[in-house]
């Protein structure tokens, strides 16, 4: 039992779970990370084609834990975000109000993972249980008791970082508010002929938004990734057509910005849903990242919100250990819920409403949108407020 007695257990070795264990590094806590996959296996990691949009605010957080200087090497900066409604004259060009800065960065997930794993595997205070599945969880007065297919772990605090379909949330019967969209999304990594000029494009259609994010140029080619939201049947079709036909479809949408598509590198589909837990924590248990909330990807804020969760959680845990307190008690989970819930809930609602505003094809909403675009584009103060919000800075 002694061996499996730790201060905290993080379930989920995704970016949020791994980042959290790096953040907690200096507190001298004994940490166990549990993941059902073999995440240290390079072949498994190489399959991950996803990229993460890191906002300027998230960069500041990563920098404060000494991680940004390593991630920066392979980060594609975003200088502009151009938002375009159906009709091209309706557009807003967002740039960082501080001229020198960027709006955010696009980084390959597998690269971030590599950096985090290097740091974690060299830390003797962190136990790593891969290919380990959770069977059951019991919360007692003194411990979160985690039963896996390999062992039983006693922990002061259990942190659920196991994603939007969180298994822990199911075992613990944690209630959620949820929204299902009649939308799916496809992520396509592709090469194209024209330089993307460090610009992200967000194009709105009544079928759903389409975002093109600039990726770091490899030796010869311009790279971008597309997040295309549409109704599920359409996405299913997209997934089954040949690459040459898919190229034509993408050309139609983005040719004037990125030139023609020269190669489809990879594609992946997923259905869109959003949720938020009614509680972000209970006795000896907290939820972070997508296990606590998942957002419509329209604003690319999901991961950044998760990073702010774990930044605040790290600060609260530090306050508790500075006072010698048991980190599983209300001092931690109540403060955490109080600090995080409202912010996540507002973003949950904002992204949802934003999606509906752009989906409906009625003349009233259309006029409102046109007016909105004009007001925002001509008002620099408003524009910089929105930009700051999107960058994850406080208003």
């Amino acid at each position: 039992m002694q061996n499996n007695n730790v201060d905290l257990v993080i379930v989920g070795g995704g970016l949020i779970g791994l980042c959290l264990s790096c953040f907690l590094d200096k507190l001298g806590l004994r940490i166990a990370i549990i993941d059902k996959n073999q995440i240290t296996n390079k072949k498994v990691t190489a399959k991950d084609i996803r990229t993460t949009a890191i906002s300027e605010g998230s960069k500041v957080i990563l920098d404060s834990f000494g991680l940004w200087k390593k991630i920066k090497i392979k980060a594609q900066p975003i200088k502009n975000i151009i938002v375009i409604d159906r009709n091209k004259s309706n557009n807003i060009n967002f740039t960082n109000p501080n001229n020198a800065g960027y709006l955010g960065y696009i980084v390959d997930n597998k690269f971030i993972k590599k950096i985090l794993l290097n740091k974690i595997l060299s830390n003797k205070n962190i136990l790593f249980y891969e290919k380990t599945e959770i069977i059951d969880i019991k919360i007692s007065n003194n411990f979160s008791i985690i039963k896996t297919n390999k062992n039983i772990i006693f922990s002061k605090l259990l942190i659920a970082a196991d994603g939007k379909d969180s298994f822990i949330r199911k075992i613990m019967k944690q209630k959620v508010y949820s929204k299902k969209y009649k939308q799916s999304a496809m992520v396509i990594n592709f090469l194209h002929s024209k330089n993307h000029n460090n610009t992200a494009y967000e194009l709105f259609y009544n079928s759903g938004p389409l975002a093109s994010l600039p990726a770091l140029k490899n030796t010869v080619s311009n790279r971008s990734s597309l997040v295309w939201s549409h109704n599920p049947e359409y996405i299913e079709h997209l997934n089954s057509v040949s690459d040459s036909f898919l190229k034509l479809l993408i050309d139609e949408k983005v040719k004037e910005y990125l030139g023609s598509v020269t190669k489809i590198v990879s594609k992946e589909t997923f259905s869109l849903a959003a949720h938020i837990n009614t509680m972000f924590g209970n006795y000896r248990l907290v939820y972070v990242g997508d296990a606590a909330h998942s957002l419509h990807p329209i604003a690319g804020q999901g991961w950044n919100l998760g990073l702010r969760d774990i930044n605040d959680l790290t600060n609260i845990i530090k306050m508790a250990t500075d006072l010698g307190l048991d980190i599983g008690t209300d001092f931690v989970y109540k403060k955490y819920h109080k600090m995080r819930f409202f912010q996540a809930y507002s973003l949950f609602q904002i992204t949802d409403k934003l999606n509906s505003i752009f989906m409906y094809e009625n003349s009233f909403l259309k006029n409102i949108r046109n007016l909105g675009f004009k007001i925002i584009d001509s008002n620099n103060l408003l524009k910089s407020k929105i930009t700051n919000y999107a960058m994850g800075n406080k208003l």
Binding site: G28, L323, L325
Partner: protein, 244 residues
């Protein structure tokens, strides 16, 4: 004789409650809520005196602390995690049993003794002595403080927390919290036993002690948060004194 009966009453009261100590939503919930503030107060008032340099996260490294009236060990455990060598003493056998069992589960090395404070008998002297929420339960607090001070090292510090004897405390600390809000069990406090901070200070300063700090513990009913506030001492207060 009367004294004996009163003491037995206190004994029975706490004996019945012993199992509740570590239930976060149980009868001692209020103590769990104010634990962070109590530790914070102790940290602030022990720090200046401490000669050892802070070793990273172990601010109380090697400091000998005696917690008199330790109950279930709610304060002993955090102090031990902060590096102190902690001794807890309580006159209720069941409390000591609960405290020992819990320390084992928390994997903490704390010394617990069942002793009557009026006949306190210990082998060593301490850097810090705590009498937290204790003197208001005693029939002869002066006698017990005098006895406790024998175990304080020169320049060592004693820290008290207690309830003031004022109209405000009678209304809030006894009537409201026990009878109406049920924050603490009924009959926990008796008004006449409460000690005013000025009485406490007057007494300890006669016993070769120098007052270092007094602070109030204040509950804001609107934000529902507790805070330390040196101007609000009408209900709960802390007091630190140093042996000359």
């Amino acid at each position: 004789m009367i004294n004996k009966i009163n003491e037995n009453k206190e004994f029975d009261h706490f004996q019945d409650l012993a199992n509740e100590w570590w239930h976060p939503e149980g009868k001692f919930k209020i103590l769990h809520t104010i634990t962070p503030l109590r530790i914070n107060y102790i940290k602030k008032n022990v720090k200046n005196y401490q000669k050892n340099k802070n070793i990273k996260n172990i601010p109380f490294f090697n400091l000998d602390i005696l917690d008199l009236g330790c109950g279930g060990g709610l304060i002993c455990e955090p102090l031990c995690r902060l590096g102190a060598n902690v001794t807890g003493v309580d006159f209720v056998t069941k409390n000591i049993k609960v405290a020992k069992q819990h320390a084992l589960k928390s994997n903490l090395d704390i010394e617990y003794f069942k002793q009557d404070l009026s006949s306190l008998n210990l082998k060593k002297k301490y850097d810090v002595i705590l009498l937290l929420e204790v003197i208001e339960h005693l029939d002869n607090w002066k006698k017990i403080i005098t006895r406790s001070l024998k175990y304080l090292k020169p320049k060592g510090r004693i820290i008290f927390s207690s309830i003031n004897r004022t109209i405000t405390s009678k209304i809030f600390a006894i009537f409201l919290t026990e009878q109406i809000l049920h924050w603490i069990p009924k009959k926990t406090h008796t008004y006449n036993k409460l000690v005013k901070p000025e009485e406490l200070i007057l007494f300890i300063e006669k016993n070769k002690m120098k007052t270092i700090n007094t602070t109030g513990l204040f509950f804001n009913p609107i934000t529902r948060e507790w805070s330390l506030n040196n101007k609000k001492m009408k209900i709960n207060y802390f007091c630190t004194a140093e042996k000359i």
